[in-house]
């Protein structure tokens, strides 16, 4: 992949990567660090990207970068802290419920339902098998409905 194509692709995918990073890190500043660092690492690894698998591969790098930030900062951000973020979502109850899901359930949900990844692509991005992804999605949907105290229709 040449540099121009890479830049164009990364810019195109940036909004989704940034949302995903916020979903993982619950903090806009950390999310910004993650997408910046991931841009460089994705470029350095661009030779290994399979045709058609660019988004999953880059997503994987963004996720790893978020995990790296989580580990290095050695802190767990409580759900309540997101209220201090300057961005106030309209549906705060839903955001709180999603933030309350464990990461292993939250990420599959966000990749599939927010970013529109196919299950295969989401599994590749997360480095898990498709059955594992399906299981996590099922648990995520159930847990979210329980938190929201009502059935959810995904449209």
């Amino acid at each position: 992949m040449d540099k121009t194509t890479f830049e164009q692709l990364y810019r195109e995918l940036l909004p989704g990567f940034y949302r995903l990073a916020q979903g993982m890190l619950r903090n806009a500043a950390d999310a910004q660090d993650a997408v910046q660092q991931a841009a460089l690492k994705a470029w350095q690894a661009a030779n290994g990207i399979k045709l058609g698998g660019e988004r999953a591969y880059m997503t994987r790098i963004v996720i790893n970068e978020c995990r790296n930030i989580q580990r290095h900062r050695m802190r767990v951000i409580p759900v309540e802290e997101f209220r201090e973020e300057p961005y106030i979502p309209k549906d705060r109850e839903l955001r709180r419920a999603i933030d309350g899901l464990p990461e292993r359930l939250r990420l599959p949900l966000l990749l599939k339902y927010m970013e529109g990844y196919s299950e295969k692509e989401a599994a590749a991005a997360l480095g898990i098998t498709l059955p594992a992804l399906k299981g996590r999605l099922l648990r995520a949907r159930r847990q979210l409905a329980k938190e929201l105290k009502e059935e959810v229709e995904w449209i």
Partner: protein, 245 residues
Amino acid sequence: MKRISADGLRQLYAPVSQETEQGVDRVLSALPERKEKYGMKKKMFTVALAAALLALTTVTALAATNWERISAFLGGAVANFDVNEEAIVAPTLTENTSQWLHIALEEAYWSEEGLHLTMHVAPAADKQLIVTAYEIDGGGEEEDLPLDEKHLFIGDAPVTVGEWRQGREILTFEIDPGCECWSWYLRDEAGEDIILTLLDVDEKALAAGTELPMKVAVTNLMTGDREDASLMVSLPPMTRQPGRK
């Protein structure tokens, strides 16, 4: 009944700020040319892979002298570690109850990120092939197609399962090390190379040398039969190394 759409979910998170865009622009506009060092590491990796294939039945012996797998992966651009090759050890598989899979452990390395294990997985029977489930588009747009019409993403271009398997059976598998982990899968003609990074490790046990039990779930996609097996990984004493640069 609450209705949740993709747009609704997207609005839960802040849009890309100008500051973020500018930061990414700065990174993108200053992207370095790819270093030759990385290319060389990739070549070394290919050589290591070929060597592993030639000596598939004696991978344990190979592992004692061939540390390129960890070095190439962790030291490569994605992980970007300073790998201390002297700290790579040879794990041994003291138990594998699977009748369906040959599993060979290759290398182990303990860093600040976790315990990294590389292993090679191949089907035990000639008439079988393995895929990791994510290589088949079982979800999304191909969910309702018969298996042989679904596409596999294992090469430069997708092929249908039917074209690829040519009458052989397909096994898919999942290895569960019993803790949070992430994994990379690298395919070769004989099977899959897996790099597992176990994130929750018992530091005292690793330092002293330990055994790690793992579970393997294997499914025959043609028959739906499933095998639940267990592995026992034995590790010599290890020393934790730095993580990413």
